[in-house]
């Protein structure tokens, strides 16, 4: 495997050719916060939490979709980057209706956990309190609550790339983005949904949940992504 070398926060490191900056950072022991990224799904660069500063680049770059190049000089935790990451989380909190105290995902939510980790103990932005489409609990097993969605598209990618169903999609742009089912219909009427539950498991927030879960009851399990990805690459499956 050919390798490139780069400098991360003043320390020399290396990564395989073709690795993203995020992979390079993690392989060299530098952790970056991420929300839209999930190992096993194609990266999209939607949440901007993984922004890093690369010497010579005129703008900040999302590490999850930027290829690591030979000789890159990367900074990951400058004052400015930390400030922007906090701001991003605050904007996410103010964009829809996040009421953590009554949320099914309370204990399993990546957004809530990142806020705590980065020290976001309040948001400076006015809450938009948007009136969103009603809860869809028509599905046999899954529920969809637009109030908690951060438009990371993890569910869409898992449904498309891992399950191959492509039941889920996104309508609208920016703050008008909404998850839709098939041709914008109730989940129960979907003919493509296999009821596999992958979307629910990969959703980092309380948007997609198992019906019947109450406050803080949701647990998410994403290990299956690695298993499926590995199996597909090696063309062999271990069931142990």
């Amino acid at each position: 495997m050919s390798v490139i070398t780069l400098t991360i926060n003043g320390i020399e490191g290396s990564a395989p050719v073709g690795a993203t900056l995020l992979e390079a950072c993690r392989q060299n022991g530098v952790e970056l916060p991420t929300l839209c990224h999930l190992e096993g799904l194609t990266p999209v660069g939607a949440c901007r939490l993984c922004l890093v500063q690369v010497e010579g680049a005129r703008r900040l770059l999302p590490a999850c979709v930027t290829e690591a190049q030979e000789g890159m000089v990367v900074l990951t935790h400058t004052e400015k980057l930390v400030k922007y990451r906090k701001m991003t989380l605050e904007l996410l909190l103010s964009e829809r209706n996040h009421i953590c105290s009554v949320c099914v995902a309370n204990g399993a939510c990546e957004l809530r956990a990142l806020c705590a980790e980065l020290g976001v103990d309040h948001t400076r932005f006015e809450y938009r309190c948007p009136d969103l489409p009603p809860l869809d609990t028509s599905h046999e097993r899954n529920g969809l609550d637009h109030n908690r969605c951060i438009s990371c598209t993890r569910c869409i990618r898992a449904c498309d790339q891992i399950e191959g169903a492509h039941t889920l999609d996104m309508e609208g742009r920016g703050i008008e983005s909404r998850i839709i089912i098939d041709m914008h219909q109730k989940w129960v009427t979907s003919e493509t949904c296999t009821k596999c539950g992958k979307c629910v498991n990969v959703c980092p927030t309380g948007t997609l949940f198992w019906k019947g879960s109450t406050v803080a009851e949701m647990q998410k399990e994403v290990g299956f992504l690695q298993w499926i990805k590995g199996g597909r690459e090696k063309k062999s499956w271990s069931y142990l």
């Binding site: 996040h98 009421i99 953590c100 809530r112 103990d121 309040h122 809450y127």
Partner: protein
């Protein structure tokens, strides 16, 4: 230090759960009692918010004009103001009504609901007017420290209060600043 720290707690648009959680620090309250003078609180019989308060914990969101008037007075008369619990910090469940029309809320609760309440001009004299939207405290006044949680658990309250009494800004670990 000879004089005790002048501490107050205030209850705005919240369920009093944050106050209950404060009382849940149990026997530690006795240690605190030696070091503080509780000058205003829902659990103390004081009518007017006093001058010269060192530290105040404010529970609840801003829901009506009375909340707002009291908060402005509290800010004016206190050195360190703590946004105490999720309703104060985010609006939390109190701000669920922001998704609804205020007239619908009033009709639902006061006209369609049980019991009888003053209506019309009489109501304006005795009931505080609802603000068009529910807000977190920092929408109206500068806040010195945020203590999220619904309610904040007794441990994080104790840590924060202990630091504040020592005149320090509390440094809480990540697991102690989660919402909800």
């Amino acid at each position: 230090m000879t004089s005790k720290t002048r501490v107050a707690t205030v209850w705005l648009g919240g369920c009093s759960g944050c106050h209950m959680s404060f009382l849940d620090i149990d026997e530690k309250l006795i240690d605190l009692a030696d070091r503080i003078e509780l000058v205003y609180s829902p659990i103390a019989d004081v009518k007017e918010y006093p001058e010269d308060v060192d530290v105040v914990l404010v529970e609840g969101a801003l829901c009506n004009t009375e909340n707002l008037e009291l908060l402005l007075k509290v800010r004016d008369r206190s050195r360190v103001l703590v946004s105490f619990g999720d309703c104060a910090v985010t609006g939390n469940t109190s701000q669920l009504r922001n998704l609804l029309k205020i007239d619908d809320v009033l009709t639902q609760v006061y006209q369609a609901g049980p019991g009888s309440i003053p209506k019309g001009p009489e109501a304006l004299e005795v009931l505080p007017v609802l603000l068009p939207k529910v807000y977190p405290l920092h929408a109206a006044v500068p806040v010195d420290f945020y203590l999220p949680g619904c309610p904040p658990d007794p441990d994080r309250i104790l840590r924060a209060v202990t630091a504040l009494l020592a005149g320090e800004k509390p440094e809480l670990p990540a697991e102690s600043i989660t919402f909800g």
